[in-house]
């Protein structure tokens, strides 16, 4: 065996074993492992399972004025219906996937548990929801993630997956 044979065998073995290790960890543990996997070299092969993607998710926000009155919830434009050409060309899937990735992190927290406000997923959602212009009377904004879950019988269930704190405008 040449040195390159040995190095290749070693690298591939470690990489493959690492891939096996990260497959079935709980979500938060996977996040911790990912802290060291900066280049995303350890793939996750659990597509759409064990929790199938039976919901549409929406990042929504509402403004609160100086009198504490809340405006209506408004969606951020991230998810759109796919055209037939998406079998070949589907750039919009990346925007929806960004939201999906962020949701996987935020939904891991219980209702009574505060997520890290300085975590990248929270800051991403906050930035995306703070970008749209606000009315002059609004002084704070709150974002949320809503979901429409589809049932086999054709029905739909609307729910809030995550609700943020209120954040003041700069």
């Amino acid at each position: 065996m040449t040195p390159i044979d040995i190095v290749s065998a070693l690298v591939f073995s470690v990489w493959f074993l690492g891939t096996i290790l990260v497959q079935f960890e709980g979500h938060r543990k996977r996040v911790r492992v990912r802290k060291f996997d900066l280049l995303n070299l350890l793939p996750c092969w659990t597509f759409f399972a064990p929790r199938p993607c039976v919901s549409d998710f929406y990042l929504i926000f509402r403004d609160i004025d100086c009198q504490g009155v809340s405006h209506e919830w408004t969606p951020v434009d991230l998810v759109a219906r796919r055209p037939p050409s998406s079998a070949v060309w589907n750039p919009l899937k990346r925007k929806a996937k960004c939201l999906f990735d962020v949701i996987q992190f935020l939904r891991a927290f219980d209702v009574d548990e505060d997520p890290p406000l300085l975590s990248f997923p929270y800051l991403w959602a906050l930035n995306m929801s703070m970008t749209p212009q606000h009315d002059y009377s609004a002084i704070r904004r709150q974002f949320a993630i809503a979901s429409i879950t589809y049932r086999k019988d054709g029905g739909e269930d609307l729910s809030a997956v995550f609700v943020s704190a209120e954040h003041p405008f700069a």
């Binding site: 390159i4 990489w15 280049l39 399972a49 199938p52 079998a87 589809y150």
Partner: protein, 276 residues
Amino acid sequence: MASGIGFQAGIATGNLAWECWTACIVAVSTGISSLELIALRSEFINGVYAEEIVRSRPRSWLFRRREELRCRIFRPDVIYTVVVGRLFASIALIILGSLGHISGLVLVVLAVSGMFINYRNLIGGDGSDQMSLLIVIALIPAVFFPNDRLVQVLCAWFIALQSALSYLVAGIAKVASLQWRSGECLLPILRTTAYGHPGVALRLGTIEGIDRAISWATIVFEISFPLVLFAPVPMVVCVLVLGVAFHGMNALLMGLNCFFWAFVAAYPAILFIRHV
């Protein structure tokens, strides 16, 4: 089979049959994904990949003392240049691979650009990006050392094992889910906006038991895919043909266009190890 002529000017020639096929197919995946990112270039400025957003995450150990470098790599013009370079590298690989040559340098460009995009964007990537990057990196030793038979075999086995693992894990994860075992999640998935096809969901909803049948067909296919590593060659070919059809349907119904090319790119490596 692997009696390569040699490595000249960064281009490997000779008997690199499976590598050429794999490189051509995976380059289609990387090319399409690069074009899609170019189409979303406004997102690098004030969208999901905006500089101010991706810079908000904690500094990694890589950039602890290199803040200026870290700020520079998140700039929109930098990521745009990388993506355009990745597109040209993909086109070059398709052309060279179809002529029976592979450039190790082009593979290195694809590997480095893929890792850079992963690091910079952090979110929004999917399994096709992961499989493409994995295959590109695994091809590099095979191309740089075309006369080393063992390296050829190691690279092919690594790609084949990762491919088999991907299907096996996906299948096991589905078996672990009551919704998948009962099939009750199939129609709701097809009704979603991001991954659904309402017309197909409507038609399938009228057929009793079809959702359970499709769920179990998917589970059985995925869990049995690792058989390609040691089953008789005719069975291997059948399974791979099913795999092509499976990913084709996923592209049509769910918009998983790059998955088709990224995962089918591993099939030449599987055929190679079955002939060794």
